[in-house]
Symmetry: C2
Amino acid sequence: MNKDVFKYSDCPVYRSMSILGTRWKPIVIYMLRDHKARFGQLHASIGTISKKVLTDTLKELEADGILFREEFKEMPPRVEYTLTHKGKTLIPIIIQLARWDNEHYEAKQVEKTA
Amino acid sequence: MNKDVFKYSDCPVYRSMSILGTRWKPIVIYMLRDHKARFGQLHASIGTISKKVLTDTLKELEADGILFREEFKEMPPRVEYTLTHKGKTLIPIIIQLARWDNEHYEAKQVEKTA
DNA sequence: CATAATGGTTACGTTTTGGTTACCACTTTA
DNA sequence: TAAAGTGGTAACCAAAACGTAACCATTATG
């Protein structure tokens, strides 16, 4: 099934999943919650994401109007990513989701040892 | 990367994505928002999900404590799925997400025709 | 006897997503 | 001359997610 089937679905639950429903997107958005950041900063603060996947993720979020990319013509290059209004309005929802998880989370049980 | 790396992450944003971050999970949860449903009903009302994926999705949601499965020993079989408390508390968040999408959604532009 | 009905499972294949490694352009600094 | 620093890209590969088709058990009904 093609992503666009969801993207232009009649149902907003489907549609919002086409924007957010991958491993990294909510995390990248959350990282930008209160300040812009450069590519390298995002890469470092997320830690385990690869450059390629970060690039792809940022491009898709830009295409979906969640953030914008500002490129400075300097050397070495500098690029800053900032949430749009649409992106910022997502922050409270992501925070609620995190709070929901925290309230219901039970840490992994330690396995029985011999 | 293994799912469990996310599932037991320190960050609740990561963790909640390990529960919800697939195409169908929020949709299945939303379908159960105000009443239990049988397997066949879910399959029919979602429409485009395959039986296998619905089965997998329901199993994972059960394992994550979002819903429970009640099996009646009848013939032909009957199975009912119901949200747990944990699952129900997710509904307002999913609804907010849907509302967020609706507020920012712009329907697909019609392509220029010759 | 054949078919329908329910809630799956199994085997298999495809698509989507994520990851690795090497490499690039350009300038500054050592 | 060589390396460092930035924000990537390209080719390729692995894993996760999703999909299809056929099949199963059991009972009731025609």
